[in-house]
């Protein structure tokens, strides 16, 4: 059976060149970068090389990159680290309703510690309105954290404007760019961003490694305490192979960015057109154009997302859904709720995210199986209008 992977927003395969770059550090060059002897120096040099590779991708200075164990850790580090450094209990932070849980749950943990948090709403396309940000500032606002692009519906936020407003109000601006890095050009200097999170496994790098960009001079305290690694900002023996892999992935992302954008956008449009023209009662979630190049997200009325995923899996296709059943909670995706979908429509959502290895044939294969799956599930559904639906074929 044909296997088609269309869940690149969940994770990506390590690029073969990335793996090649990592291998020596999983073999002979295993030294601890903190050591002064030859094995250690090799490892140290490799880390600094990777740091430069990550820095240049977002136009930062290498000294502004701190490696972490994941995108989640970078997000936690940004929020706790900044509030901890400013050390004003009762301080206020602003974020949005559609952030990844790595931000939302950290914000909730801060609330339990006495911080105040404003969760900005978004419009039906998932966009934060800069005007609502302006109104949210209070005396004690220290940090604004708005994601660069959403992981479910792909909407790209107006980061330059949001960062600018934040600056005018004297607060720090953090962006969770885990989905955006490698998919969109990002220049932290031009955008005037203070902190930015990224993750290796979303950009054809390895799992278990991420980074936080921290603009020079920004006050931040470590999340992980211990040894003096990463300029005392992130303790723990460095994951050298992981870091080297992230560096290489960043370099490839930089070199191939334009090409990847074109390729993904083309396939995305082909997929969207194909679905909308062959299936009825379906809506495209997110913004039509301010959208990650590889992201598509649909809601199929009258059917539930997990059964859709299972059926696609049986056809060899990997996808994802905002359905409650797949999240381990009983609530459907907070993102789909925030853009105003009714519950049953949110439950029937399907995210198909395209990656660099995908081809037009992959999309054709998807389009050849999806309509029948939707039809079958609708025929079982008590919610579908009696007499069935008209399927445009």
């Amino acid at each position: 059976m044909r296997r088609v992977y269309l869940d690149h927003a969940a994770t990506t395969a390590v690029h073969p060149e990335v793996l090649q770059t990592m291998l020596p550090y999983l073999q002979d060059q295993f030294g601890n970068p903190s050591s002064i002897y030859s094995w250690g120096r090799e490892a140290k040099a490799a880390i600094e090389n990777a740091r430069a590779q990550v820095a240049v991708l977002i136009n930062a200075d290498p000294s502004e990159i701190i490696f972490t164990g994941s995108g989640t850790e970078a997000d936690n580090f940004a929020l706790s680290g900044v509030t901890d450094a400013l050390d004003q209990r009762g301080a206020h932070i602003i974020t949005s309703k559609i952030e990844h849980h790595a931000i939302l749950h950290t914000a909730e943990a801060l609330e339990r510690k006495g911080y105040k948090v404003t969760y900005l709403p978004v419009n039906t396309e998932g966009l934060v309105n800069p005007e609502t940000l302006k109104e949210a500032f209070t005396e004690g606002t220290v940090l604004v954290s708005i994601m660069f692009a959403n992981n479910e519906i792909g909407t790209i936020e107006p980061i330059a404007e949001l960062a600018q407003i934040t600056k005018e109000h004297g607060a720090l601006f953090h962006t969770d760019a885990v989905q955006a890095v490698g998919n969109l050009p990002i220049d932290v200097k031009q955008l005037d961003i203070d902190l930015l999170s990224l993750s290796g496994h979303k950009i054809y790098g390895p799992k278990g490694v991420g980074a936080l960009y921290v603009r020079r001079g920004t006050r931040i305290k470590p999340l992980l305490h211990g040894g003096a690694q990463e300029r005392k900002l992130r303790a723990g023996t460095e994951n050298v192979p992981g870091i080297v892999g992230l560096g290489k992935a960043a370099e490839l992302a930089r070199l191939e960015l334009a090409e990847r954008q074109t390729h993904l956008t083309e396939l995305r449009e082909y997929l969207i057109d194909g679905v909308l023209s062959s299936i009825d009662h379906v809506r495209l979630n997110g913004h039509r154009s301010l959208r990650l190049p590889g992201n598509t997200n649909f809601s199929f009325e009258y059917i539930e997302g997990e059964s859709l995923l299972l059926s696609l899996d049986l056809a060899g296709i990997a996808a994802s859904s905002g359905s409650a059943c797949t999240s381990g909670s009983l609530e459907p995706s907070h993102v789909l709720m925030a853009i105003g979908l009714p519950h049953e429509v949110a439950h029937g959502s399907l995210r198909l995210t395209i990656g660099r290895e995908n081809t037009k044939e992959d999309i054709d294969y998807l389009l050849s199986v999806l309509p029948n799956i939707v039809k079958r599930l609708r025929s079982m559904s008590p919610l579908a209008p009696k007499g069935g639906l008209s399927h445009v074929q």
Binding site: E304, G305, S307, L310, G328, P342, E344, H347, M380, P382
Partner: protein, 125 residues
């Protein structure tokens, strides 16, 4: 994640559909939680002569709906009442922990349909 038996009932669900003028109908769940099950009964001499379901929900929800219909078809209403959520899950060879709430739904829908039948009997009887 799912056992072979669950997948079999998901891919080849038994007794999907509706019954015209059913003797009893049960509907449980709601769209907020993402699971809705509807069960239709045809009863003859206190026996379940025919049963059909329609389900909006995850793979487990569909499989448990299918299984519950298989378990009770041909059974007396008394026997059908004894079918519990646990019975359904066991008949499927177990369900993942986080899916146990789905199996609750299938037996509930069945019991709701039987209750509906009894209610109708009283009205007409």
């Amino acid at each position: 994640m799912y056992s072979e038996k669950v997948m079999d009932h998901f891919t080849h669900p038994r007794n999907v559909g509706e019954i015209e003028n059913p003797d009893g109908v049960g509907e449980v769940g709601n769209t907020v939680c993402g699971d809705v099950m509807k069960i239709f009964l045809r009863i003859k001499d206190d026996r379940i002569e025919d049963i059909k379901f329609k389900t909006f929900g995850c793979g487990a929800a569909i499989a448990t709906s299918s299984m519950v219909t298989e378990l009770v078809i041909g059974k007396t209403l008394q026997e059908a009442k004894e079918i519990s959520n646990k019975t359904v899950a066991e008949a499927l060879g177990g369900l993942p922990c986080q899916k146990m709430h789905c199996s609750n739904l299938a037996a509930d829908a069945l019991h709701a349909a039987i209750d509906d039948y009894h209610k109708k009997q009283k009205v007409s009887g």
